[in-house]
Symmetry: D2
Subunit: 115 residues, 4 copies
């Protein structure tokens, strides 16, 4: 798989070739993240588990594109705010390991503040 | 930066140690993506550009965590649906290069179907 | 039940007493609608139908408040943009009656463009 | 303006004529609220205040329809969960009057827990 550095470079290249940085303020970029996540979610609405399984099988490309759109904005915002997203993820996982100790949280979908 | 493969492996490890796969159906995972993207967006609400700049300067860790949360779910869903997210992103960029030709879209925030 | 006119008047009174109109531009108000709808949705995440039923029984006040928050922003935006929301709803229903003819759409969750 | 009771009755009539109640579980209805709020928000993305003003002037019907869609789901969910939405709104306003005392919150977009 291509590296995060390479993918970020491709995205910024794509963006800058179109002179779109001027529009990419954090508020509107965050709106993009919500809109793309909503489009992904719409794929699964009104469907039960079996229907979702079938839908994924026949719409894998569309779903991949929605995930790619979200990923695009994650990398773009990380770049623009000078955030090392790999490092941020590892830090967050470490924090969550403390918030959700294995023994207390195993097999439960309870929020950490109610564990 | 750590590779996408490594980060995905860490996420799935974290998840499976807690036996949470049973909850991670696509509908609820997509809901997570929307919720995390909304939390990120909330950081920028009611603020003008200057206030946003200041807010980012003093809340960089919180914002990094929100982006990390979104990234977490992107990688988890890609893993569970067997989607190569790096490849999906490159494909989407290629598609967008056609949808948004440089000459037509430079400096404009017009949607492709209105270009 | 109180009338839409009365409820709108109460909301605008509450807002104007705090001099908040200056913040209520359409972009940030629409963000509020998304954030409040997300909070409502979070109540039902990770839960199956039975768990949702139980959750509603024990959290009815919280859920009512989330719905009230959404309703608040619907009425506020309608007021600020000078939209008669009751009329808008009736018009939309008429449109949907044509988009979703009873015979074609009965018992199906298919979108109108795929009916 | 038509009453909330009448509008709710129209909505439930529309729904039941199509036998759609079977799909209207709280999770999917809440997803609808998020999706419709997102569509409304999309109208204002990438635009500055002046562009938003112009956009509203030329797209008032579309924006009214988005607001009507959100209103539709608020009334439908209130009906299905047996929530008196007018009463819920008045209660929430009373609560917010305490959370946001006029003297402390006037002219500020600060969250109540930071006032």
């Amino acid at each position: 798989m291509k590296s995060l550095k390479y993918l970020t470079w491709k995205i910024i290249n794509f963006r800058d070739a179109r002179d779109w940085k001027q529009f990419h303020n954090p508020k509107d970029v965050a709106i993009s993240l919500v809109l793309e996540a909503s489009e992904l979610m719409a794929h699964f609405q009104w469907k039960n588990n079996l229907e979702i399984k079938k839908h994924i099988a026949t719409n894998k490309m569309e779903i991949s594109e929605e995930l790619a759109d979200i990923f695009y904005w994650v990398l773009l915002m990380s770049h623009d705010l000078d955030i090392n997203i790999a490092e941020a993820l590892e830090k967050k996982l470490k924090k969550n390991e403390i918030k959700y100790p294995v023994e207390k949280s195993r097999g439960k979908h309870t929020k950490y503040n109610k564990l």
